[in-house]
């Protein structure tokens, strides 16, 4: 097979090879074959092209995870534009900010989300075209919307655009330390080089069934969507609600005969703790892939005791590189092991190096920052030239090295060992959080005078977020009101677990917030 350098070419190829196989399935709901999915995405392409969407544009996908959101993504790619997936569970103001930040030309959304989105976009004086999927339709809502649009005005057939592989394919927004999300720009080459690496390592086939647990605005979705599509395999979508129901989820994994599972470790821990896994047969499962946060070894053992057969692989990397290192957990684990697993060796489509604060490569065994270069790394952050100038080192031959901010030590046998972060970015249930974004959100509360947020490791709950607040007039605010306020301002996963009230924040001698002192209090 010729390796075509765009992500949507993977769908075209599988539609030719496996037209009648199931491409995507919603548990308990609809399924779609490769042929039908390909045809549906052609219709999305035609409609968007008719709206003037073309190569170089961005289009938002603001739809709960579904066959329709998968079809929207491929339809957008077929116009040559890049897609911007936005969290349907996040506050509408944050979503509108994101979509407006990269000036999307159009947004696919649903009737349920439409009015709040329109109101927020109006505040930003943004007016992208909106394609709204109806609810309560016996058909696929996306197909129903396209038919309704066709009745109003036919969209002439357009050709699928195959832009050069260095063209922008998608933008994933991640937490930003200044309080605003930042857009990580990934090219078709970044996506396809990673997908081909996955093929090499996991040898998938059309007989595999992949899970899609992570939301589409999360970088785990790149493996979830494109690896099965490339191989003609079946993709089982785990929607937002099902993903949080361990009992129902366990049943779906077993009954759908999922063979490749990919999620953050906390979900595996949820499943082991609350999913009553002993009830079901998981013999189809051949790989359990995990990423996004450290998997505490005791929790890992509990999962492995319930699911002993599959191979377990730790995939590591920030959104900016997708996955850059990987480590397969040995089938037999040293019973005395308590230290977290290594993050492992550099993926073959990338190069890794470890440098000190001056940028010099350290000797093996010394701690330093992990830098990554190669086809899989991002182009940069959307519209942040200053940040982009800092985040890459450029070799004399033009090679760009991305500063991951991860502190690691190289071990000859196990590859890299993760030691921590250079900055205040933390992971909570796999979600990446800049603590500064939470602080910026809480600081907008009219009664809050000062705020500082820290993350505390908790053996049961993983990472817990603790906010320290001082209020004007020393008043004590209601916790329930503060939680509600946080829910309105921030994505759910950023809402602090606890709030503590103090008269004033501790300061260092240089008048910076003394986070170490706060951690000592926590």
């Amino acid at each position: 097979m010729t390796v075509v350098g765009t992500l949507h070419a993977l769908l075209g190829e599988s539609a030719r090879r496996f037209p009648d196989r199931t491409a995507v399935e919603e548990p308990g709901g609809r399924t779609i074959t490769y042929r039908t999915l390909d045809a549906l995405t052609d219709r999305v392409r035609d409609r968007l092209a008719h709206l003037g969407v073309q190569s170089g544009d961005r289009v938002g996908v603001y739809i709960p995870k579904s066959i329709d959101s998968v079809a929207s993504i491929f339809g957008i790619l077929k116009t040559g534009a890049a897609y911007v997936p936005v969290d349907p569970e996040a506050p509408p103001a944050r979503c509108a900010y994101t979509l407006n930040n990269c000036s999307v030309k159009a947004i696919l959304t649903t009737a349920k989300l439409e009015s709040a989105l329109r109101a927020e976009l109006a505040l930003l004086e943004a007016s992208p075209a909106l394609l709204v999927l109806p609810h309560d339709t016996p058909d696929f809502p996306l197909a129903a919307m396209l038919s309704a649009e066709d009745t109003r005005e036919a969209a002439p057939a357009s050709a699928t655009v195959y832009p050069s592989s260095d063209s922008l394919a998608y933008i994933l927004y991640t937490s930003g330390s200044t309080g605003k999300p930042k857009g990580v720009m990934l090219s078709h080459l970044a996506g396809t080089s990673y997908v081909h690496w996955c093929s090499e390592v996991f040898s998938p086939s059309e007989n595999d069934t992949f899970s899609s647990h992570a939301p589409f605005h999360f970088d785990l979705s790149i493996l979830d969507i494109y690896v099965p599509i490339k191989h003609g395999a079946r993709l089982v979508l785990i929607g937002e609600a099902l993903g949080k129901e361990p009992l129902a989820l366990a049943q779906v994994i077993a009954e759908q005969r999922i063979s490749v599972w990919y999620s953050v470790p906390s979900i595996l821990n949820f499943l082991a703790t609350y999913g009553k896994l002993e009830r079901y047969d998981f013999s189809a499962l051949r790989y359990v892939l995990f990423a996004g946060e450290v998997f505490p070894v005791p929790q890992f053992r509990a999962v492995k005791a319930l699911l002993p057969h599959p191979r377990y692989v730790n995939l590591f990397g920030p959104t900016e590189t997708n996955v850059c290192t990987f480590y397969e957990v040995p089938a037999t684990l040293d019973p005395d092991r308590t230290a977290p697993f290594p993050i492992g060796h550099c993926c073959s489509h990338l190069r890794c190096r470890v440098v000190d604060t001056d940028g010099s490569v350290v000797t093996p065994g010394e701690e330093g920052e992990l830098l990554v270069s190669g086809a899989g790394i991002m182009d940069g952050y959307w519209n942040m030239p200053d940040r982009n100038a800092e985040i890459f080192d450029i070799d004399p031959d033009g090679t760009r090295w991305y500063h991951t901010g991860d502190l690691v030590v190289a071990d000859e046998q196990d590859g890299f060992i993760f030691h921590g972060r250079r900055d205040r970015m933390v992971k909570r249930r796999g979600y990446r959080i800049e603590l500064g974004e939470i602080e910026a959100g809480l600081a907008t509360h009219p009664s809050v005078r000062e705020v500082a947020v820290i993350a505390v490791a908790d053996p049961h709950a993983g990472t817990r977020i603790k906010a320290f607040l001082s209020a004007h007039n020393g008043e004590k605010l209601s916790l329930i009101q503060l939680k509600q306020f946080s829910m309105d301002k921030l994505p759910k996963y950023m809402v602090p677990d606890t709030f503590a009230f103090i008269d004033g924040l501790p300061r260092t001698s240089t008048d910076k917030i003394d986070y170490q002192a706060l951690k000592a209090q926590a």
């Binding site: 949080k244 129902a248 709950a461 209601s478 329930i480 939680k483 829910m487 759910k492 809402v495």
Partner: protein, 85 residues
């Protein structure tokens, strides 16, 4: 009913809202959309309900429509209790 509400209220205040004024948590306070209970906390609450009241909850009973407030929870738990309690 009132007993269930009182017991669950105590659990939530103790576990997820330490230091909150008990009067602020009413039988109709939204527990999930307000951020008081996230998905992990909800699972903890389900485990607590199952153990404390010796009942079994099915997956589809643990969503926001059945457990959105203390009132909802009491209505979910009450019919499952052995008769006479």
């Amino acid at each position: 009913m009132e007993d269930i509400i009182r017991i669950v209220k105590e659990f939530i205040l103790d576990k997820f809202l330490p230091g909150e004024d008990p009067a602020a948590l009413t039988p109709s306070t939204q527990l999930m959309s307000s951020g008081i209970l996230d998905s992990l906390a909800t699972l903890d609450l389900v485990s607590f309900l199952e153990e404390r009241f010796k009942i079994e909850l099915e997956a589809r009973e643990t969503d926001v429509s059945r457990m959105g407030t203390l009132n909802d929870i009491a209505q979910l738990v009450q019919p499952k209790l052995p008769a006479g309690k």
